[in-house]
Amino acid sequence: MSGTWINLLIDIIISLSLLTGTFFIFSASIGMLRFPDIYIRLHAVTKGSTLGIAGIMIGAFLFLYVEHGIVSGKLILGMIFVMVTSPISGHMISRAGYHNGVKLWDKSVRDDYAEAVKEKRKSIDN
């Protein structure tokens, strides 16, 4: 009797982690559509996707281990690499966007980086 209880519990944990993962990725894509400019969209994509992918990978890892007895190191590695690389890609895309002249949203209140870019442009022109 105790065995079935544990199986049920593990099934519930696996489904919960898969569902939270999909929920976070779904929210990230909705944020991508709703938010007004590239920078805020990047917020949604770089952050929402990391926990989403982590959830799905943990769910898949647990499922493979419990059902088939496979310890899949690839899933854990994939999770770690997504966690490490997504902030870097967000940084690079936003930086490239800024230097290509993508405007901030109309309601933005502050932009300290504009001065630095202006000074740099001047020094290059001279």
Binding site: G31, I40, A44, G48, G52, H91, L104
Partner: protein
């Protein structure tokens, strides 16, 4: 520190030969024994015990994961907010960290904190430009966040 890791690996290999089983789990047991030996004999070995630094790295990783989870929840809240009434903007954050490696880690950690995204690093590595979703909200809290991160990073790298 490098010497200690080499000693530790040698102890693990010796354990493998002594127990005459050449598997990964024996290596792991040997490595753990090596850590124990180094811990007991740390007064006779140059430099401080290297597991101290490993523990600090693990603490930094735990901080990283904690901030990541918090920021995910924050962004989901913003996504489902019916009205987009926040005030985004870019502000400059001065930093005391010097080397490229440290600044990379700090910028990544800031990218993963709630509501902030690092956009660029200034030419002289003294400032990080950060895009915040809600400026008035972030500027208050950013200083303690920055201090905890800088402290954790410095403990690892120096």
């Amino acid at each position: 520190m490098n010497l200690q890791i080499v000693i530790n690996i040698i102890i693990a290999l010796m354990w493998m030969f002594l127990s005459e089983s050449y598997t990964f789990s024996t290596f792991l047991v040997g490595y753990l024994l090596g850590i124990l030996l180094l811990f007991v004999l740390q007064r006779f070995i140059p430099d401080s015990f290297y597991m101290d630094r490993v523990i600090k790295v693990i603490k930094l990783i735990i901080l990283f994961i904690k901030e990541l989870t918090l920021s995910n929840i924050e962004i989901v809240k913003l996504v489902y907010k019916p009205k987009l009434d926040f005030e985004p903007g870019i502000f400059a954050l001065p930093t005391e960290l010097k080397s490229n490696w440290e600044i990379t880690i700090l910028a990544n950690l800031i990218s993963l904190t709630p509501g902030t995204l690092s956009i660029a690093v200034s030419e002289d590595n003294s400032k990080i430009y950060i895009h915040a979703i809600d400026i008035p909200d972030v500027v208050e809290s950013i200083n303690d966040i920055k201090e905890t991160f800088e402290k954790a990073i410095m403990e690892v790298t120096r």
